[in-house]
């Protein structure tokens, strides 16, 4: 059976896209590696506590469940096109068997992941990404630690700190590496999100959580786990001005997000550099990528929060439905409602304003020591990156070939941004032939698959 549409990703973008298309009559499947629909923002535990917008999302998810095939706990590791033009979404099932799913159209809604920056001791257990701490809380009802430091840049640090403090952790401080704006002039305010910003600010005050700008965690200390951090006061380029040591058992750090675009790149979708330099999938007004039959929505097209993701998903769903009707010979291409397009413009502008307000400044590189691991998987310290550069490696790719950062399990997802910064170039689109680890058996099945050239 060939689906009219296969959606990859069950966050706000994927669910909105899949539901819009299914309600228009298309045969839809949605694939997600997680146990439950939700993605990162609407991640919830088996017995979820109330959260803004979650009830509505769960209603949409239930509506989708009755209209489409949901393949949860299925990971997509490759996207290919057969000679007949149809696409194959290659999944692995929970028992690791290969499951190729045939599709006329695909919507890539794979979201993003945290962008960490390396610092001495960042590989000690107890150091988590900010999103990781949030995922433990939202998806598992687990508070990441008792005495927690939240650090990095961007407004996402606020819900993380407020969530942890509300769940009983002692949050010793939110250290925002950028500054100047302060909460009062926060870009959230410009978009009528005053209530949300004020709510987080009030939470921090109530729980006596200090919010400090131009500060960063520049080292973590401990034997087997983190026991303390060095917090630095920074100048505007993030060079260290002064330091103090703070005892804690957990650190949650995040310097923005990295859009997950591997599947689109595998198929040859054109990319562009976002405001913050991240490679993202280029899409037109209808969320179409440059490859026929392939749409993208949400963070793979640029980071801008869950509302933008959901809007892009709905728009993609409407355009995909119109494409399906046109090919089925039905009249009317069905224009996208203008109000959706205008709202998308507003939220895109907001996303870009956030990226401009919270850039990563070059001074972070001065926090590194020679023995600081840049790549956690292959355990490549800064000294080896520098050695590769002294041997003539001038770009991230040749550094990778000589010193091996990004060659391990995570395939550069975690260190890729840092290595690009060290090389002095914007991050390039990932070149991963396989988006998720896969067994040899599944690979063998692939070569037997008639839909693959």
């Amino acid at each position: 059976m060939t689906y009219d549409l296969v959606v990859i990703g069950g966050g706000p973008a994927g669910v909105a896209g899949a539901l819009t298309a299914a309600q228009a009559g298309l045969r839809v499947a949605l694939v997600d590696s997680a146990m439950r629909l939700g993605g990162q923002y609407f991640r919830h535990s088996a017995d979820p506590r109330p959260a803004p917008g979650l009830d509505r999302f769960l209603r949409l998810a239930r509506a989708l469940d009755s209209r489409a095939d949901l393949l949860l706990r299925h990971q997509v590791w490759s996207l290919t096109r057969g000679p007949d033009g149809d696409l194959t979404v290659h999944c692995t099932a929970p028992d690791r068997t290969a499951l190729p799913v045939a599709a006329r159209r695909v919507l890539i809604a794979t979201g993003a992941h945290d962008r960490p920056l390396p610092f001495p001791g960042w590989d000690l257990p107890g150091v988590l990404t900010a999103g990781g701490a949030q995922a433990l809380l939202k998806g598992n009802d687990v508070v990441a630690g008792r005495r927690i430091v939240v650090a990095g840049t961007g407004p996402f640090l606020l819900p993380v700190a407020s969530g942890l403090a509300g769940a009983g952790a002692r949050v010793l401080g939110v250290f925002e590496a950028n500054g100047g704006l302060g909460l009062a002039r926060h870009p959230l305010l410009a978009l009528g999100k005053a209530g949300e910003a004020a709510g987080y600010a009030a939470d921090l005050v109530r729980h006596r959580v200090p919010y400090r700008t131009r500060r960063a965690v520049v080292a973590a200390h401990g034997e087997r786990e983190v026991e303390a951090v060095t917090v630095a006061r920074l100048d505007k380029d993030w060079n260290v001005l002064a330091t103090r040591v703070l005892e804690c058992d957990t650190v949650a750090v995040g310097y923005g997000f990295v859009p997950q675009i591997d599947l689109g790149v595998q198929l040859g979708c054109a990319t562009r550099h976002d405001v913050d330099g991240s490679p993202v999938l280029a899409v037109d007004a209808g969320q179409r990528t440059s490859v026929a039959g392939v749409w993208a929505a949400g963070e793979p097209t640029g980071v801008g929060g869950w509302r933008l993701s959901e809007l892009e998903g709905r728009i993609a769903g409407q355009v995909i439905a119109a494409d399906w009707r046109a090919h089925g010979g039905e009249a009317g291409a069905g224009a996208v409602a203008g109000v959706l397009l205008r709202r998308r413009e507003r939220w895109r502008a907001f996303g870009e304003a956030l990226q401009r307000a919270y850039p990563v400044q070059p001074g972070w590189q001065s926090w590194l020591r020679d023995d600081t691991l840049v790549c956690r998987c292959e355990e490549v310290p800064l000294a080896r990156v520098r050695e590769a550069q002294s041997l003539g490696a001038t770009d991230a790719r040749s550094i990778k070939l000589l010193a091996r950062p990004g060659m391990g399990w995570c395939q550069g997802r975690i260190c890729g941004y840092a290595v690009s910064c060290l090389a002095g170039e914007p991050p390039q689109p990932p070149r991963r032939p396989i988006a998720q680890p896969v067994t040899l058996g599944a690979l063998a099945d692939l070569t037997d698959d008639p839909t693959v050239q």
Binding site: M35, H113, D123
Partner: protein
């Protein structure tokens, strides 16, 4: 309602719906793997299946990402 899994034979409590990684972290087991070269301890980092720091063996099946696998009663996880 809680059930147990074991890590190297030791029991760890789980609330239904938690991942193996979340249950271990909540029980104070924050590292369960050593790196190949430096022997550095590793546990959860990204929490969403991206970093591969949390690799573990589940009922003899390895490597699994502890942050992605929902814990089931009686699961035996072993460290390396």
């Amino acid at each position: 309602m809680t059930f147990h899994i074991t890590i190297d034979g030791r029991p760890v409590p789980v609330t239904p719906g938690q991942t193996i990684g979340a249950a271990l972290h909540a029980a104070g087991v924050r590292s369960w793997r050593s790196t190949r070269f430096g022997g550095r301890p590793r546990g959860l980092f990204c929490g969403i299946g991206v970093c591969f720091d949390c690799l573990i063996s589940v009922n003899g099946r390895a490597p699994e990402r502890a942050c992605l696998v929902e814990a089931a009663p009686g699961d035996e996880v072993t460290t390396s």
